[in-house]
Symmetry: C2
Amino acid sequence: MSGSLWLLPVALGETPWQQYLPAATRDAACRLTHFVAENAKSARAELKRIAHPTPLRELAIEQLPKSPSVADIERLLAPLHSGHDLGLMSEAGCPAVADPGALLVRRAHELDLVVRPLVGPSSLLLALMASGLDGQRFAFHGYLPAREPERSRRIVELEKESARERQTQLFIETPYRNPALLDALLLTCRPETRLCLARDLTSGTESIRTRSVAQWKSTQLPNLDKHPTVFLLLADR
Amino acid sequence: MSGSLWLLPVALGETPWQQYLPAATRDAACRLTHFVAENAKSARAELKRIAHPTPLRELAIEQLPKSPSVADIERLLAPLHSGHDLGLMSEAGCPAVADPGALLVRRAHELDLVVRPLVGPSSLLLALMASGLDGQRFAFHGYLPAREPERSRRIVELEKESARERQTQLFIETPYRNPALLDALLLTCRPETRLCLARDLTSGTESIRTRSVAQWKSTQLPNLDKHPTVFLLLADR
């Protein structure tokens, strides 16, 4: 009898688990002894945060390589074949969303294994809910190009597509590059395009504001430097 | 002092709240006495499920019209101006995602009010995590056209865009039309396109499987008729 692959969301920041996990998610994680983690160190911090009943050194925690090979995937899924349930954890938020964990889930489906997603925090979804932008049509684009002129060219593309499809565009950046991305957005976007900046979601310094680009240019900007932020924009037709 | 607008996720099906809500989300909902709901009846069922400490008849629960006017929005937000916190609830899952609640959130930002999204279940995100499809780039398209040939035309468009942008496409259908949509997908999509069917998420009859269209054609299909389902596809280049 094969085990099941459990998808375990984890904290977005330093908060007690009761803030961001249903008791059922925490209980499911506490029943597991085998884990695959995007980052082993942050996985151990999470298992400590939820007070996993087994001493950490007795848990099997394997780290997922950034570009896992077919052999890596087979090795990481091996506990399932010996009948162990396996937990997949992202560095922050939901696994297999904006991280390489999806390759493991893909293989689990090919092997006809049971995949069990659990409820927990997603910065993308919290940002979308709170943005007041269109939640009926939206797209997540990951990271924009880090350099100019590619970055501004991509922003123009996303804004045009947003207007054409009436689609909210979500994207992220490495936190230390957030101020540069914000500058590029304010320089490039049309004045009436609405831009939401969703910073430090679920933490004590959470800040979520939606303004038109014209309004953002005439108000004090939030400090996004080194703060995890989701950027969302919606252009009018 | 104005109140804050709290975004309260609710159950996807009939399950105890400890399965799908963090204690913090449930506690926040229990502190509120003013609510705006996509559906007042299902909001009352949710407030009963989380054992809200105030008798239901003493709570102010306003229903959000399907196409709210500017006057509707002002009226619904009025408790915030009198200093009450206000909770926004969808019929299922997260408010302001795939429902008209975003208009209320939009107005709250215009009025510079504080918007507080809370963690809870989202069928779209659970389906995406569990699909094994690309979670680095994805788009939600709402409902596809209900009639042919528009529906199949739209499926072809989404499949082409998926291949071009390497983007997972998510969409939904009114549950009694799920079998017809599945038929159209199997008839229209390329054999190697991967299709995930994510049914009854978080409930006891949950079923999530990803197969190529060719594989789906040669296996028994899950029964989706009248079961809430998220459809996801990813086409190879």
